[in-house]
Amino acid sequence: MNQISIRFDRTWLTSFKHTIETGEHWSNWERFQLAFEAAEQQIIPQFDTLQCLKHLQTFQPLPHQIEVTRQVISEMHGRAILADEVGLGKTIEAGLILKEYLIRGLVHKVLILVPASLVLQWTRELNQKFQIPAMAQKKAWMWDSYDILVASMDTAKREPHRSEILKHQYDLLIVDEAHKLKNKRTKNWQFINQLDKKYCLLLTATPVQNEMEELYNLVTLLKPGQLGKQREFQNEFVAAKRKAKNEAQLRQEIQRVLIRNRRQDHDLPLTKRMVHTIPIELSPAERELYDGVTQFVQNQCRQGGTDPRSMLSLLVLQKEVCSSRDAVFHTLFKLFQKDGNPLSPEVASLIEKLRAVQYSSKVNQAVQLIKEIPEKLILFTEYRATQEMIIRQLEQEGIYAIPYRGGFSRNKKDWMMELFAKRAQVMVATEAGGEGINLQFCHHMINFDMPWNPMRVEQRIGRIHRLGQENDVFIYNFATIGTIEEHIIWLLHEKINLFESVIGELETILEKMDGDDSLEKRLLHLIACKKDDLAIREELNHWGERFRLLKEEVLADEQQSSNRSCAQLH
């Protein structure tokens, strides 16, 4: 073969010559041998055998993660969408691929773009698990001075950073949470498109169920033209916004750039989930307040008709009263402020009822439970007011608890994680703080109040019940007797079996359900219509049945399509 070029490096010759002329710096036989053996240890003997595995000793990657690494490097040539389901270890896969390329000397300059809250976690994992000297980007000059940087997408796409980044040639670009790149018209998409990159990994857990055009845009970032031109794609593959045609062919095209592992396909070493529902009797004063708020919500619904915004705050109010007095107070206060009118007798009476509540039965229960469990525990609430109240109360009881929420700065989040890992017994987290943090070292969790959205519940559990958790996970659901909460927990726990096992297709099923109306709206409607317990139970039962049917449908679909794609591969 003639056209292949061979380049001899001769930069060494100058120092060789110098050594010959001066007779200085000759190495002895032992040092000469060591140099040769060092080189021998570092060579890459084959194109396709992974080198990174023998370099890693602090943890053992799972078989599907190794397979993804091999596939991305050997078959996809370093440009791929990693789309494993949540919790299967996309970060590990990206780390393995990066490590392999670094060892092979094919990659030097690397940019890793992630949500701000995950910058330090990524940096830490790359350093500790993979011994990759990644730095968290903090200052503008760092784009130049460091080869492997982890940065927040929001920072990177803004000036002056944007222009700095666009000046560089990156050997590898990794984007986490890449579903934020689905729209061609966004700054995010255009920025990633402009970035000069050799290899590129896009990580997302939810690429397939979405709109066809979004999938097209994602693939275009990796390989423009892989799915044809936009119009051809529309004609050939799109039947409706969310519906594909020529599915088999489309799947084949997409499989060249996208890998998706699903939980059900792998025998993953996940520990068990032990679920306990803890019934809590409200104190008379709390009962008064609950009934009062429910009454208020019902009245308002009847008067206010269907104004969506006031519906929303009523929904919040009804949820908050299941959480704590403090949370209710906050929202009532805001409602009142907005009106500007003098306090209506109705609200005034609610405030009276608020005042009458002396303690929180739920917190008492939490304190008792935490004292019985001498181990780390994470407690989730949806409301910041509740969070603060819990921390205060735990403190009074001599329990070391720390808060965690989305609004914290990156440093503070990291500091809180560190404190929880090393010193505090309890972390009290709000929903927003829940995403992206990994707490495998903790295996007890209290759902102090219950989100009315099953996906959010699953995300909470996912913080501690994930690969790497070595213990069975204990989940305690607080259910106040005779409230809407009791029904919700019954639905999620007994009816759709949300807690015991991971429902991999949860998101898909819920999306299909939402066609009807979200669970949240449905619940509010039930309350507004003053349904009695029996009627509520019946409605929820109906919802649960539909969920069950759709679940079967989705599972059958997936089975079919995976059979089909297997057939194609053979």
């Binding site: 001899f8 060494w12 370099h55 000793q57 370093g78 033209g225």
Partner: protein, 274 residues
């Protein structure tokens, strides 16, 4: 290779490095190794350039670091801090880099046998031995080592030269009563011969990998051509296309790069090596 074997290779390498670079071994147990580094070793292994700048500028007595290296993470020493060494660890990689940096060039004489010494003067035959690292690069990579030697008297070239001389013993000084024969080839000419030889060998290899990479490259370039038709594109789009095309070339373009690991002059005892 099992982890255990890999770790043994690492430990063996480090022990030999420490002896070769004048470090002192304070304690050695089956699970760990405690050492006082020499100054050059500290400079290479510990990555603290500012300390060394500071020591030099203020003319202070340097204090190289002591390292305690554990090879068995389950049984580290309990009375002092230690670090876990395995092939992928940064420190071990520093050991390898340091060894490569300082063992590049040599000029050695085969140990003279005492028995022959009395019988008068004998010549040495000089060889230039070079260890080449050949890297085959496209979007993937593979390396191969070539250990070539050339006789500077006859111009004869042998492969696996290093393997052949590895088991011999060597010294840095010309022993008494020995001499080297005048060379017919200058080392720079000899090097040219070796490169030429290697180039020919490489060109005779099967380069299916490169053909495949070129096919992939042209397939993707075609796809790009379809996606951005020349006729109806504005400047911005053309720029995008050009950039993407350069990325493709960077990713797939097959090439072979040859580096030198190390090399030097090996004076062979003609009485023994025939």
């Amino acid at each position: 290779m099992s982890n255990k074997v890999v770790t043994e290779v690492a430990r063996n390498f480090i022990e030999r490095y420490l002896y070769a670079y004048d470090c002192q071994i304070i304690e050695s147990t089956p699970s760990y190794l405690h050492t006082q580094l020499s100054i050059p070793a500290d400079r290479d292994l510990c990555n603290r350039p500012y300390y060394w700048m500071y020591v030099e500028q203020l003319n202070l007595p340097p204090q190289p670091i002591q390292l305690c290296l554990t090879f068995d993470p389950e049984h580290p020493p309990t009375d002092r801090p230690s670090e876990w060494i395995f092939p992928g660890s940064q420190r071990y990689q520093h050991f390898l880099q340091s060894a490569k940096r300082h063992g590049r060039f040599t000029s050695l004489f085969q140990n003279a046998d005492e028995n022959y010494r009395r019988q008068g003067s004998y010549p040495y035959q000089t060889w230039l031995g070079i260890n080449f690292l050949v890297s085959y690069i496209c979007e993937q990579k593979r390396d191969q080592i070539w250990e070539l030697g050339i006789n500077l008297q006859s111009g004869e070239i042998v492969e696996s030269f290093y393997q052949q001389i590895k088991s011999l013993s060597w010294q840095t000084q010309l022993p008494p009563n020995r001499f080297t024969q005048p060379l017919k080839l200058k080392y720079i000419e000899a090097l040219g011969e070796l490169e030429c030889y290697l180039e020919e060998k490489i060109s005779l290899e099967d380069h299916d990998w490169a053909k495949q990479a070129l096919t992939r490259l042209s397939e993707e370039q075609e796809q790009l051509q379809d996606y951005y038709p020349e006729s109806q594109s504005n400047e911005e789009v053309l720029l995008e296309k050009k950039q993407r095309n350069l990325q493709l070339v960077r990713q797939y373009h097959p090439r072979i790069e040859v580096e030198v690991i190390n090399g030097g002059f090996f004076h062979l005892d003609m009485l023994k090596y025939k």
